[in-house]
Symmetry: C2
Subunit: 350 residues, 2 copies
């Protein structure tokens, strides 16, 4: 049995959809036990709207709520009894094995990093997210936790994304790409050039720099980038279908035959919508912290929450964090031995 | 009469499409005279395929070609008689008033900045590009010339984009947005926070930070960003329609009724394609250099080249560069006077 704490008060549509999603997860995945964290009476009332069939759900009281607009630092300092803080606390005390929250992303990152600490060897945590592509799902990391990563931090993001892609997405040897403005090794900032070298000399399946045009083609399984560009691209993707849709509808309305055509296309478009739906991605794991934490989109539907809980359970059962620690350890061993060899070659003279 | 040098050998489909585009421009815009620069015999042969009706086209010989994959620095140093170098040279000697090239972007930026110098007061040039939105065309700047702009450089990009939007896109008081990962003033890197202040305290119509999701909504007329994120987003946009199209076609093929539907939708989709087509945008002006230079997409069609030449002519006749210089000058005057006031307020003590 894997116990997962779910932040019942976090998200734009909490507690309704979060509780609903928790019920779906409990019913669908019998190996999971859900700890719904939030104001006891509110959560209880929501829970009473649903039938919990086979699964197990318990409630853990937490009096306060971190608002979506709260300053992360202030939220952590002042709201010690928030549903988010209690979730992270349960994880720290090992009373649960994972946390899922659709609440304030900044607060979730800060609370996790500060209270759980980082995995051995990891410099900075990062947020990974599933990207729908022409050839299945890829991962982009980081998408907002670290705006100015160092070359080594980018390298570690590649290691973490690799572990996630292997053990959650079942990719045997994930192809890793570094997001840049050109494919040549000489392109981009100094930080990217350094990161390129670390990746090239590592045991990872690094295919080189990729460009914006490769984002959705599925050319790589893991897209490694800084949190600034990752965040901008992510938010752009979210809006682009909407904007394109608005353009299409505006044009279609000009002609009844086109409208009929659109109606005939509907099933195909629906299939694509499902394929590219963020709901299926199962939230965004915050990788690198000492514990399994999934941050779901603020607007998460019940289905999105259910899938995030599912992935959280898989991350625990497939020991993604242990794999990350081992990979980081083995690569630093490689680096240390390479450094030693270089030193020897230089006769020990620096 | 405005004379415009066109790099006849630059671009993936040069010289064919470039020469064709130059002919279109010459025929459509009687106020323009085109100087086609490139290997005399090659250009002449291409030109002979077309009828130059009303317009005027002359050829200027240039023996060498800068390849799309050439290193910009090496290309400038070693190929002094390239079509690109000769174009820029003509502009420097005031034998033409503008340059249009679909060749190597890096080489075009470097050649222009080095040989033409910068406009008075400008710190770094930047590339602006038209972005199709739900409400007409917006400008994004920079999209690749400056990967690590300072706050002041970002501020100047806003001034340059403002001038372009006013005088070329006819916007009365362009709304300026700073691309960031959140709307609050406190978001983003230190550079962005500083740039925010400069923009807020300026005479520009600064509406604040915008996010990736605002890119295509037309919420702002000018999207100000560093060249790294601008370049990634730009290239992503180019591929996104293609990828989405491939997904749609794959689904549609599963069902004949859907295919019929798609056929009925075709006119509407074609209208959107035209609306969002890079060809109509007329290339990307390199703003900040002391001269009018437009860098067109490497894959430019003849129509795209024609439109780039058209915009180059408009930039000259509407004196965009003069407007930029005046705007930058007036804003530094404002800043200097503000600095003086602050100094006085502090009793001259530092």
């Amino acid at each position: 049995m894997i116990r997962i704490a779910v932040d019942g008060m976090g998200g734009d549509y909490a507690p309704e959809t979060v509780v609903e999603g928790a019920v779906y997860a409990a019913n669908d995945f019998s190996e999971l036990e859900i700890v719904l964290v939030g104001q006891m009476d509110v959560i209880k009332r929501e829970l009473n709207k649903h039938k919990v069939l086979g699964g197990k759900i318990v409630i853990q009281d937490a009096k306060e709520i971190v608002g979506m607009g709260d300053s992360p630092v202030a939220a952590i300092r002042k709201k010690k009894d928030s549903s988010l803080a209690v979730c992270v606390d349960l994880l720290k005390k090992k009373e649960v094995e994972a946390v899922v929250t659709a609440g304030n992303t900044g607060a979730a990152v800060a609370a996790s990093a500060l209270n759980l600490g980082l995995l051995p060897g990891i410099k900075r945590p990062g947020i990974a997210i599933g990207v729908p592509t022409l050839h299945g799902i890829s991962i982009a990391m980081d998408v907002g936790a670290n705006l100015n990563p160092s070359p080594e931090e980018l390298f570690q993001y590649a290691q973490m994304a690799d572990s996630f892609a292997r053990h959650i997405h079942g990719k045997k040897r994930p192809a890793i790409g570094l997001l840049n403005i050109g494919e040549e090794e000489s392109k981009g900032t100094e930080v990217l050039k350094e990161a390129y070298k670390l990746l090239r000399d590592s045991s990872l399946n690094f295919v080189g720099n990729i460009e914006g045009r490769d984002f959705f083609t599925g050319r790589v399984d893991c897209i490694i980038c800084d949190g600034f560009v990752g965040n901008v691209v992510l938010k752009m993707c979210e809006s682009i279908l909407e904007t394109a849709g608005a353009m299409v509808i505006r044009e279609l309305k000009k002609n009844p035959l086109s409208l009929l055509g659109a109606w005939l296309c509907k099933p195909a478009l629906k299939a694509i919508r499902n394929e590219t739906n963020y709901e299926e991605a199962g939230g965004a794991p915050l990788l690198g912290v000492n514990g399994t934490v999934i941050i779901s989109h603020g607007i998460s539907s019940a289905r999105a929450i259910r899938n995030a809980i599912k992935v959280a359970g898989e991350m625990v059962s497939k020991q993604v964090n242990q794999h990350i620690v081992e990979l980081v350890k083995s690569n630093s061993a490689v680096q240390n031995s390479a450094a030693r060899t270089e030193e020897n070659a230089g006769g020990g003279i620096r």
